[in-house]
């Protein structure tokens, strides 16, 4: 299948989903905000935790002749 066609089809399906969500009753959309906020906070918390235990390897400094 044509790759360009595939991407267009995916983008279109995303547009359709967004339109569907936008058309939901406002009470449902506000309830979704509550759930989205909880998820966002969980993700941020997990990301912060991951950052603190991340092992970083620093490459050795390059030795150059500069300044000799």
């Amino acid at each position: 299948m044509n790759r360009e066609y595939e991407i267009q089809r995916i983008l279109e399906s995303k547009r359709v989903l967004r339109r569907k969500l936008a058309a939901l009753p406002i009470k449902e959309k506000l309830a979704m905000l509550d759930v989205l906020r909880d998820r966002l906070l969980s993700i941020r918390k997990a990301a912060a935790l991951n950052r603190s235990v991340l092992t970083r390897e620093h490459p050795p400094e390059y030795k150059t002749d500069a300044g000799k």
């Binding site: 547009r15 967004r18 936008a22 959309k29 506000l30 309830a31 905000l33 906020r37 998820r39 966002l40």
Partner: protein, 173 residues
């Protein structure tokens, strides 16, 4: 507890005379027109009735009132029904007009006042952070802006040039 409860508190504040008028802006305001998108706080724009002889607005009365209701003040936010809420006193002509023109939407018998889509989009253009630009694009793509009304708002608040630049950058126009 949720956003709907936060809106009930705004209504109570207005009926108790703590604020003169409120309107919801930001991502929560945009949700009235677009698909919901994740946000961590609620932005509410408020006006106050100044007492005779008073020239400065103080948020102290508002904070004291909310504390009595059991809300918690955390820096510039007030925690209401689990949501951090930022009260933004009207500053500038665009937010003043947006508050005056705000519309009331019924959320299952709870009246919620929210900025019009055109004012939310104009404020996003004026603020201009990456997330504001993304929201403005959402408004455009969703086709919820009444173009003549939107462009009139932009013209009244000196944002036409910024709008032209935005269109050039994002839609190749």
């Amino acid at each position: 507890m949720g956003v709907a409860d936060v809106i009930s508190v705004f209504n109570k504040m207005e009926s108790d005379g703590i604020i003169e008028r409120y309107a919801i802006g930001g991502a929560v305001g945009a949700t009235f027109y677009l698909e919901p998108s994740a946000t961590v706080d609620v932005d509410v724009f408020v006006s106050f009735r100044l007492q005779p002889g008073q020239s400065l607005i103080s948020l102290k009365t508002l904070y004291d009132y909310l504390t009595r209701l059991g809300c918690i003040v955390e820096g510039e936010y007030v925690l209401i029904a689990g949501w951090p809420v930022q009260f933004l006193p009207i500053s500038g002509s665009l937010s003043g007009e947006a508050l005056a023109d705000a519309v009331t939407v019924n959320v299952e018998n709870i009246p919620a006042r929210v900025f019009t889509a055109e004012h939310l989009a104009a404020m996003a253009l004026q603020t201009g952070r990456a997330k504001d630009k993304a929201r403005l694009l959402q408004f455009i793509e969703a086709g919820v802006l009444e173009s003549r009304r939107f462009e009139a708002v932009l013209a009244r608040h000196g944002l036409t040039g910024k709008w032209q630049a935005f269109k050039k950058a994002f839609s190749g126009q």
